[in-house]
Symmetry: C2
């Protein structure tokens, strides 16, 4: 990250870094303040006053005078030196000039609301370029343009104007003001834990996700960072920042513009271009980000990650239900997200049987089968038994807890309230998180709110409850294995591979081998006699493949022969030369690659690309017909670790063929994972590689033999990357 | 369906059918009534009184006296003759006897609450058998046991005790009382349209889903049937009933026990055994049931199907948003469920541009980009433009409609209310359904409730809104193409195929051919000379395959030769005989099947099984490695139509290889669909077939050639099916 302090040091040493000043301002100028109550320049001031912002507010308007009891500054130039933040409430065309003036009076950062920049085509693009130039010249930090603003709930620095946001641990970064509204209103509906801060990044002319994430996640009031994004300007920096942040603070993310039509909408909204969805999904998850598929999960999952303990790795979920119908549905929903139920110990089952009687189901899912209808306290006793089972990592109560007094008899209320207190006490004592689904969660019930205020989610949707369990399970695993995961920082570049565009195969093979990656025996034979000698030197029949810059599809022009033995090697080599000369008269033949034919194995695809958003990315999947029909391919950002490579392999369908498919020996998964790690190290150190294809790789036992090796270098002068 | 009237006619001609009497009782006996306010036998009476049930209630208890102002009958025998329904509030062991007594006094049906039957193992199984015997003997119709009861909201016949259920068009059938609570409370939270009736089927000793569905769907107050099920006792009857019902009334279904762990829970809950999930999902969808993946969708989708017009087939969805962030997320969510956005006409886009100004996005998704912030009526005008575009089948408004006065200025309220009225008027005028997502949907807002009361869903979850759109789209298509779909009734059985267990291949081939299904040329050769002659008679090289009851895996013992030409046919035939005799000395060789080798084509799997729940089911998928790794297989109940076969093909990954994969000619999809239809007709007419396997079928152009034909007949005496 660029040093923020350096940028501002021309104005004398600031007490705080520029981004800290932006997100927690001790003074605010409203540039474009208005005395007209219908204008945003008026609302902005009123909102700060209503939110109880206790620091100076400086309205700026040429008309001077007073607005809402505050003296108005006639121009930016007359502001006191060193105001923390300017909220720019001016039309797009006036923004660049205003920023220059702000910088001149020592303003640390600006929030630019205007739209009409990059997101609306050519006219806007020109204004966007001007804005970027002003930022670059002055060093002022800018959030926006085309943003709803920012909010520091704790200090009352509310530059959005949305009131009554409950204070709590959730910090939000979005590219949409409406998403803020959704999250705040959903949090209210779920009675979630509230917010610390909000930043609307808009078009990201300057401040981007990675910096914002670092700043907010580092703040002691933040317990989780909830992100909505339509695209990253510097995806790799975000990955590295996220992989670091998640060691302490969970990150939840909802991405907009994943589909073709969604991309179109995002482009016209914030000018963002979301990249390849499968790649983005894979690498963000690799960075430890909890990715959401549904907008309606953002508030609920963020709230739970901020307040619940993670699941201890290896432990499972116990369902405690007061109705078999819900139990089965909850078990189905857990299975659908890949979460296992606990195998309760015999001791646990025995104790549950004593508590719940003969009609109950005491294997997970536990169904109290009516035992709680007359005494809800039984739930607390059952929870007490479950949390002591070392197999249990989370208890999911499903049914109508908290609503017994509504469903059956008002007299049950006392027992329910008492049960809630016992649950809270047990929850505080044991590191086993508790999540409650109740059909009565949407009704205002005091014991539900008691539980929520101590961080126990109480929700009406089984699916939301299960989604929380999945997030807490991943969170627990991430915390445990973070040392075995990639930092996702790029290593220093290696001396670049010479050339540009498609390399000839011998050069590609040498480049891969130079990186210490074994690709099996091969020989470049320059003459027919060399071909014969090479084939004779291998124990197995060989493949011959013509090497010629002019030949792209070697098989199509007769440039490949398979199963060649020494006796007829000369004849085959001559035949290749004849065929190529006939079919591609202009071809200059540089020789032939001779490789011993691989024994039968599983056909895999191993590759890498330079993703425009996230940089070097490794691909793994099924070779052959599967990848065409099923698109059976997994991605990871490079460099990746062996753990990550193993997970990548497991994601594919073809992994099901690795453990001894038909008459083939099993493939050594560890060896395969290490092969992918080396490929990742290779492309991470060679930013000049735009494509690498080993397709197919024949995997058999511990051998991985690429049949073809293909490298495309970027067309740029490769010296650029030579550091 | 068995004639209900016949069953009850021994007691004289009843005015109404027994199931009608059960679901809309004109008199109710409470067997096991209690004066103890803590008992269910007391609650039950109080609940009926509170619900305003206006017909006679007869408490039954040996202690006689009065309960809640009603005279208590000392025994069932003393009840007036012909009470419609008895609610049996007795322990499991006392139920069978009570039923017999009920039947004796002309009671039409009973609701049995007790649990402790089939769902709790051996002891319960004995009681369950006793109960079934009582039902069979007396003809009394029974709902339960192990049920929460039933409710007729309209009449106040509330045998569950849950109060304050709003009246409306949703009829619910579940196997879980908690699911009723969930649906009712979710309906309340979403401010949905309310309920007509509820039936908890419990263990289904007698009344099952199909009868209940027919009875409820036929009722004029029912606009949709919402079902929760853990398994069908007679799945095929349900399919046929559903396929018929959905011509008039939509059916929404949530299934419990789909996963392995969920199945375990369901088994201990209602003793239900849910079958093969992929089969059940496929055939229920084939029957036109709107299947749900999430419990939290049941209330919301049921409500919308009851109140919204379906989407006219071929029309698409238009998104009308007041924020690009939500627009992109809504577009993504639609794409994820396979719903397309409308391509708005130039005229529509021009009119929107005039209305919304230059900052708006006027291609779908439409983003008003702030144009509504000061005048929400603009939404109504935009809707007016959209509904007139013949491409638009549904308008999805996303953002904060209805909440502008809360977000921006209280003065906007009037304009919002007026906009809601205009939307309602337009909605009534055009057959284009409107669904609204608003971040403020969970806040109590009058104009939202106005919209809802006229059947416009207003929801906070984009995902729920999109789920509704998907359901309305399918509903529209179903109504349009219902004539091209299977009734799912089984045809009369054909004369059965003789034999049992695995047929030898010539017999299997003859059986398939006898049904008019072409499987390509083949010859059964008895002698080596016949083999030579057969091969000579075919133009292509042939495959030889030994026929012997003692040889199961023919290839493994040398029983198969491929690519045989006339010149060496004798030699190959002798070699097969030698190999089989050596490897399987006890084998009696009955001959050899000679087939010309199929030209290269796409390898398909075509098969059928007799599903324990749903009867004959056809399977289609990829032959070879794909089906093993990906489980690329689709199912349909037989008989199926050509339309359904085409949809089945489209569901598979392998269908992507049918349009000219690599160097293969495209496969004729119509021909392939008709092939599947004929297979379906075949197995539907032959209930004695427990397995049929054509694997692989080589498809090339319009030819479908099965390489192997395998039929397994059920081990039962096949004469059973000879009608």
């Amino acid at each position: 990250m660029t040093s923020i302090d350096e940028r501002t040091s021309v104005f004398g040493p600031p007490a705080r870094a520029a981004l800290t000043r932006l997100l927690d301002p001790h003074s605010i100028a409203i540039v474009g303040a208005s005395a007209n109550p219908a204008k945003r320049g008026f609302h902005a001031i009123r909102a700060l006053q209503q939110a109880g912002y206790a620091h100076p507010i400086h309205p700026v308007n040429p008309a001077a005078g007073q607005i809402l009891g505050l003296d108005v500054c006639a121009s930016i130039d007359r502001l006191p030196y060193g105001v923390d933040v300017a909220l720019i409430v001016l039309p797009a065309a006036a923004v660049a000039d205003a920023l220059r003036r702000c910088a001149a009076v020592g303003i640390g950062g600006a929030v630019v609301l205007a739209n009409g920049f990059g997101e609306i085509g050519d006219v806007g693009a020109e204004l966007a370029a001007e804005l970027a130039a002003a930022v670059a010249e002055t060093g002022i930090r800018v959030i926006g343009p085309n943003t709803s603003g920012l909010i520091n709930v704790t200090s009352g620095a509310n530059l959005v104007g949305l009131q009554d946001i409950p204070q709590g641990p959730i910090s939000v970064i979005t590219q949409s003001g409406n998403m803020l509204l959704s999250v705040v209103n959903d949090n209210r509906a779920f009675r979630g834990p509230g917010f610390h801060a909000y930043v609307g990044l808009g078009n990201q002319v300057d401040v981007r996700y990675d910096e914002c994430l670092n700043e907010l996640a580092r703040h002691p009031s933040t317990g989780v960072v909830a992100i909505h994004s339509e695209g990253f300007v510097d995806g790799r920096s975000f990955l590295a920042a996220a992989a670091d942040v998640v060691r302490d603070t969970p990150i939840v993310m909802l991405r907009g513009g994943r589909s073709e039509v969604g991309r179109r909408a995002a482009l016209s909204h914030t000018g963002s271009i979301a990249g390849h969805d499968a790649v983005a999904t894979a690498v963000l998850r690799q960075a430890g980000v909890e990715l959401l598929d549904r907008p309606d999960e953002l508030a609920v999952v963020a709230g739970a990650l901020a307040t619940c303990a993670p699941i201890v790795p290896g432990r499972k979920v116990a369902i405690l239900s007061d109705g078999g119908g819900h139990a089965a549905l909850a078990a189905d929903a857990l299975a659908a997200v890949g979460i296992e139920l606990a195998e309760l110990s015999e001791r646990t089952q025995l104790r549950l049987r004593q508590l719940l009687g003969s009609a109950a189901a005491v294997a997970d899912p536990v169904d109290v089968a009516g035992a709680t209808d007359t005494d809800p306290m039984v739930f607390a006793h059952a929870f007490d038994i479950l949390v002591r089972d070392p197999e249990v990592g989370l208890v999911l109560i499903v049914g109508l807890f908290g609503g017994y007094h509504l469903r059956f008899d008002p007299s049950l209320r006392e027992s329910e309230d008492a049960a809630a207190e016992v649950l809270l006490a047990l929850n505080a004592e044991h590191a086993v998180p508790l999540v409650i689904q109740s059909c009565y969660a949407d009704v205002e019930i005091a014991n539900h709110d008691r539980l929520r205020s101590h961080g126990v989610p109480v929700l009406s949707s089984i699916n939301h409850a299960v989604r929380i369990a999945a997030a807490l399970e991943r969170r627990g695993r991430r915390l445990a294995d973070t040392a075995r995961r990639s930092s996702l920082a790029l290593p220093p570049a290696a001396p670049p591979i010479h050339g540009s565009g498609l390399l000839d195969e011998p050069a590609a093979r040498r480049a891969v081998e130079a990186a210490g990656i074994e690709i099996g025996a091969w020989t470049l034979a320059r003459e027919v006699a060399d071909v014969v000698a090479a084939v004779a030197g291998y124990e197995r029949p060989c493949a011959l493949k013509v090497v010629s810059q002019q030949v792209v599809h070697k098989s199509d022009v007769g440039g490949v022969r398979l199963g060649v033995v020494a006796a007829d090697a000369g004849e085959h080599a001559e035949a290749i030369i004849d065929a190529v000369c006939t079919n591609v008269p202009e071809a200059r033949i540089d020789g032939m690659i001779v490789t011993p034919m691989a024994a039968a194995g599983v056909e895999l695809l191993v590759g890498a690309t330079h993703d425009p958003d996230f940089g070097p990315v490794v691909a793994f999947g099924s070779g052959g017909v599967m990848v065409e029909a099923v698109r059976d391919v997994a991605f990871r950002a490079a460099p990746l670790t062996e753990l990550e490579a193993g997970e990548m392999i497991d994601e594919t369908f073809v992994s099901r063929l690795l453990d001894g498919h038909r008459h083939l020996p099993p493939v050594d998964r560890g060896q395969l994972a290490r092969f992918l790690v080396r490929i990742g190290d290779f492309v991470a150190a060679h930013p000049e590689i735009s494509e690498l294809d080993l397709n197919p790789v024949i995997a058999r036992g511990s051998e991985m033999v690429p049949v073809d090796v293909r490298i495309v270098l970027s067309e740029k002068i490769t010296g650029d990357h030579d550091e």
